[in-house]
Symmetry: C2
Subunit: 338 residues, 2 copies
Amino acid sequence: MDITVAIDAMGGDHGPHVTVPAALAYLKRDAEVNIVLVGLAEVIEAELRSLKVSVTSRLRIHHASEVVTMDDPPALSLRNKKDSSMRVAINLVKTGEANACVSAGNTGALMAISRFVLKMLPGIERPAIAGMMPTLNGHTHVLDLGANVDCTANHLLQFAVMGAMLVSAVEHKEAPTVGLLNIGEEDIKGNEVVKQTAELLRQSHLNFHGNVEGNDIYKGTTDVVVCDGFVGNVALKASEGLVQMLATFLRQEFKRNILTHLAGLIAYPVLSAFKKRLDHRRYNGASLLGLRGVVVKSHGSADSFAFQFAIERAVEEVRNGVLRRINEQMAMLNEEKA
Amino acid sequence: MDITVAIDAMGGDHGPHVTVPAALAYLKRDAEVNIVLVGLAEVIEAELRSLKVSVTSRLRIHHASEVVTMDDPPALSLRNKKDSSMRVAINLVKTGEANACVSAGNTGALMAISRFVLKMLPGIERPAIAGMMPTLNGHTHVLDLGANVDCTANHLLQFAVMGAMLVSAVEHKEAPTVGLLNIGEEDIKGNEVVKQTAELLRQSHLNFHGNVEGNDIYKGTTDVVVCDGFVGNVALKASEGLVQMLATFLRQEFKRNILTHLAGLIAYPVLSAFKKRLDHRRYNGASLLGLRGVVVKSHGSADSFAFQFAIERAVEEVRNGVLRRINEQMAMLNEEKA
């Protein structure tokens, strides 16, 4: 199965310096994939020249004259930058010239443009951002990570369907377990929306584990953790902040004096292995779910190594029919309701 | 200033085995403090005997015939256990025989009983749980950590007042900075409640920093971080889960083989210093704010070292008039509105 990925080559903090080498590296890894680099042709060509590579049948350039910046308000990017690399890459998915789009650009703009151009899948009211987080026993998928701040129980139910189908597609799990993020495991805990969602999930055909708490994310209690975008985003950002604080404290302790410096040198291979195990670059690539097309958001600061994981995520979603799976499940859900 | 603290001696996973030694140790540290140990007199006396200590003018026992367990539903604890150590300790605050109550018991029951017995301060609609979290530059105070799952903008404004006054009392800061937990720093971000709260905070006399994100908690961007109890609880529990996962990974890496074991031995003093710096026992003691009395909740699993921090927190709140400060600020707030 040939898969074509449209890459917003200008997106992210480093633009073509990252997206172009990542595309080249990915093409070597997966012979079934073709890549379209979308953006300012001159700049992309210059990057290819500097890497001593030229376009091939599997790698082509699609010119787009504008660039969405990290500071552009989503609404303005949508209205005023119709020839942006981001928008043109999404258009290629719309027209069927590409099977998926990957961008490290402005999340709000990517969400707004994707939604406007691709539209939502039947029965899905809101798109959600799903990301992977490391756990004691592997990893889990959390959604929504920030697309929706006010959610109804039906929205959360749809997120659960999308998250479960994402995991079934990219991890080949038949019936992924779904946990509902709450502040206690008991049914009576939580706010009204969460209680209603639990009821809907219990009635659904999904493999609903029940309520989970914040610590269950990292315990890996379930394959999928469902929450609204406000809570998901706070949990994600708080985790990032905590890891940064711990890393700083650890560095400071090892730099305290000559003995601790020496201990640090001796422990270096162990600390490196520890760090590698948590390497957030391996978790790069958040799925924008609910759209009539596969769109993956890379972290803006991703390097080439990290960006390849975002491409891989997009390829796996296409290869394993995540959209078809979501459609099938939504149809089942509607039958259950009827 | 003499301060009397009523301790629910039966509360927590370890009951008098922790609360009694902690009380004794605290009395040695602070000559202005008296402690009333509330609970089953026989059990407390046995604990004192085993420690070869007897009651004094500064340490007395107040018998209470019942105990609230960790599994007791809050409503039943309130209705059926009128002579529980928890309730009697709170009653002592109500009658003025004690200035504060400290309990490591069931949080829900402590909240329900405190609210029923002590009532709320004028103008405060909901009690909130405020806890201290470590940051890059010290620590910050986050509230609410789980008492309220559905909050209005006015509730969050009241939390901000209470949090700021807590910090002004226990850390002697004149105008503590207040951050509103959100999913972006821009004013337009967030849900409706948060946007309204930001507006109220901007109009208030508080030192409002603006929106903060999850990572700002650990950066220590503000002295106080305000959020609803659902978000606060998820952030807290996710952080606990993350730290446990990281600690497990680090242990696993140091136990991989004989060389890594050796590196671990050499790095041990550094890793210990690191661990000590993060010692959650130093952060033990969450304030139940908004009540007409000082109530501090210790973690259920606290040891004697940790429990002393909860006692200290209660003493400092009384000593520095946290209730008076909240009352004054609420009066100012009402004037501003009028």
